[in-house]
Each structure stands twice: as C-alpha cells, then as structure tokens.
Amino acid sequence: MGTGFDFNFQVIWESVPFLLTGLKLTLLITIFGLLMGFFLGTLTGLMKISRNIVIQKIGGIYIESIRGTPVMVQVMFIYFGLPLALNMRVAPMVAGIVAIGINSGAYIAEIVRGAFQSIERGQTEAGRSIGLSNLQTLLYIIWPQAFRRMIPPLGNQFIISLKDTSLLVVVGVGELTRTGQEIIASNFRAFEIWLTVAVMYLMVTMSIAKVLNLMERRLEIRA
C-alpha cells in the first residue's frame, strides 16, 4: 500500500515537444510585447521628464493607470472589452502582445525616467556648450549613459513580463502554461507536467539574467 504516486518520466518525455511549441509562443509574445513596451516606455518615460506640463501629465496618467490595475484585468479588458467598444475582433495572440506591451511600458517608463534623471546636469551642459542641440545631446550624450543604468532594472522587467504571459491562459493563447493545462486535462499528470513547465520558465528567465549580466559587464569595461 503506497501513496499510489509514482513519478513518471515517460509522460514528461512525451509532453516536451508540445510544451516547446507553447514555449515558442510564450517567447514570441514576450519579445514582441517587450519591444512594444520598450518603445512605449521610452516615449512616456521621456514625456514624464518633459518641461511641457501637458505632455508630462499624459505620460503620468498612462503610467499611473497601468501600474494601478492588475495585469489580468488589463488582459481581459483588451481581449473581451475593447473589441465590443470598437466593434472588431482581436486575435488572442495580438491581444496578448498588446497587453504585455502596454503593461511593461508603464514600468519601463519609470526605469527610463529614473535613468535619465540620474545623469548629472553637467553632462547636458557640456553637450550644449559644444553646440549640440537638445536632441543631439539627448541622443549622443545622455541616452548611451542612461541606457547602461537601465540594464539591471530592465532585466528584472523582462523576467516579470515573461512570467506575466502565463496569465494569457484566460484568453486562450496556446502559450506554455495553457499547453501544460491542456496536456494535464488529457493525462492527469499534474505533478510531472507543472514541474516541467516550471523548469522551462526557469531556464528562460535564467538565460535572460545571464545575457543581461554579460551585457552589463561588457559595457562596464568600455568606460
């Protein structure tokens, strides 16, 4: 009379190809979502340090409203809510990318803002004093230095966004978590499958951390 539980390697082995397909979707959503988030975040982060009060406020409203609401609600709003108002259908995959993009954008905005504000005023003044325009100073002097300071918190955000994609199960995107659920629904091997899913997430997040670490050190050596 045991507990009746015997760990089954065979089911893991059989599920891996399916889970990898799910992982591929997870990575796609994360990559495109973060690209969008990086663009949105840089834009709104800079808006927040603009001297124009209206621009500043618009950036602020975006950041506050996204940070102040759960990702899950944002996902469902984008997938189930918005299409009703706009009278159009949105593919789950697109909704997922947009949700991750809009969500990470708000956090990236704060990272961008913080990094820019941490660059000493003297750098801007030195840029302006040799005749660089405001935009040139931003592009050639401030941005490269600020970007370096953004890497560690950006890495953190990449990992958070990757994990957030698991919430997309609610809209039926066949990413890693959803794939795991579906496999379990047919074989009931919850322990093995969730363990495999967890290990897959972990391998990706650890790789992200590793790559960013290398990037940070490379940039460090140069200056």
Binding site: A126, R128, S129, L132
Partner: protein
C-alpha cells in the same frame, strides 16, 4: 568680442547679478574673482546662455544671446566653456570627446575630425591618451581633454569656470600651463579663478565681483598690490 550691459539675473527671489556692465576685447584675458556666491559663475553661464538672463543685454561676437532670431547652438560654439567638474563624456574616449563637436555640429568628416582631435590632444600634451576613457585619466588630464574639446569648435572666446578648483594641488600646474599657452597665442579668455599666479602672469585685467556687482577692475599688478576697495582688500587678504 563680448558686450554686457546692465545684466540682471535672478533665481526666484534671489538676485544673483545686479547690473553688470562689461566689455571684453578680442585677445583679452580677463580674470574674474570674488567670494563664493558673488555671481561669478552665473555671469559666465549667462555669456553662453546656459542661464537665461533676467534683463539687460549680452552680445557675443555681434549676436544678442536673448534675441529669438539668434541660433543658440551657434552662440555656444562661439563661446566654449570649461567646467569646474570637467564634465567629460564618460562613455567616449578622450579623442571621441574632442571630435564629437566637430562631427555632429560642424558636420566634419571622421578622418578630418580625428586629425584635428589628435592635433588638439597633442597641444594639451595628451596625444598618448587619445584612446583612454575619462575614468582612467587624472583630474588634470581630464581638464586638459575638456579644454581640447572646447577648442575643437574653434570658439572665438573660451570661458573657464573655476577650472582648477576640483583638482589636487599637484595637478593644477599642468592645466594652468595649457591655459597660459592659450593666452600667449592670443585666445580671448574669461576665467573665473582664484589662482593669483595665473592672473598675474596672463591676465590683462582682473575683475572683482561681490554680491552681483563689479566692485573693482584693474590690471593684475594694480589690483593685487594696490586694491582700492575695502571688500577687494579683505577678500585678497583671505585668499593670498
């Protein structure tokens, strides 16, 4: 070269400059002295419009810095600035620090800019540090690179804001040496400094500022040996 008339500058309620009149001729070396908070740095910063002036006029090489039609980026290349904290760009080599201005502002091609940059670095004695990043330079070396960076735009006047105040004493000499050489070559310079030796040797004129007004101006010999105003006397008494 520079004409300043009735210049006022306030930060909120605090009036830092209270009516400055000053003319600086081509080739002249002017040293500005005064207690801290007297407005010396602000005066320099108003000349190349790092600070917006409250009232009065500042004309640099015929261009009114407050005129809306004036291209400020252009005015700034005419009046180069050397800062107390050097403000070198840490992500660029010494050479890149010097060449970014010519490349981005003057649209000079890279090879020409590089050649100019190397000439300027050797002028300040640092051609062997061309590929070094600022973090690996001493304070004196950083300031010399900063001078080369300003010279790269071929400015008509160089403004120095306490260029040696952040340096260890043994590094001051090398920076002053470069500045003296520039003075001898006929560069128009306005220098905020407390280096009496430099003033005595290079300056055509010393201006003493306190509480936002010019108290006294004269040749260095006259002002150091025979200051007329009490405030100048007590200040010089403390500095020397």
């Amino acid at each position: 070269m520079i004409q300043i008339r009735n210049l006022h500058k306030s930060f909120g309620d605090l009036e830092v400059l209270r009516g400055i009149d000053l003319d600086i001729a081509v080739g002249e070396v002017t040293v500005i002295m005064g207690p801290s908070g007297s407005g010396k740095s602000t005066l320099l910063r108003c000349i190349n419009r790092l600070e917006k002036i409250t009232s009065g006029t500042v004309i640099v090489d015929g261009q009114d810095v407050m005129d809306k039609k004036t291209d400020l980026n252009f005015v700034r290349t005419e009046a180069g600035m050397v800062f107390q904290q050097f403000n070198l760009f840490p992500h660029m080599t010494a050479l890149e620090n010097v060449t970014i201005g010519p490349i981005k502002v003057r649209k000079m091609n890279h090879n020409k800019a590089k050649k100019l940059g190397m000439e300027l670095l050797s002028k300040v004695g640092l051609e062997d540090k061309a590929l070094t990043y600022p973090d690996h330079l001493s304070g004196g070396q950083k300031q010399r690179v900063a001078i080369a960076r300003s010279l790269a735009l071929k400015p008509k006047v160089l403004l120095f804001d306490e260029p040696t105040s952040a340096l260890d004493p043994e590094l001051v000499g090398e920076v002053l040496e470069v500045m003296k050489q520039l003075g001898r070559e006929g560069m128009t310079m306005v220098v905020v400094t407390h280096e009496m030796g430099f003033a005595r040797e290079v300056a055509d004129r010393v201006i003493f500022i306190d509480e936002g007004v010019i108290i006294e101006e004269d040749t260095p010999e006259e002002i150091f040996s025979n200051p007329k105003h009490d405030r100048t006397k007590s200040f010089l008494g403390k500095v020397i």
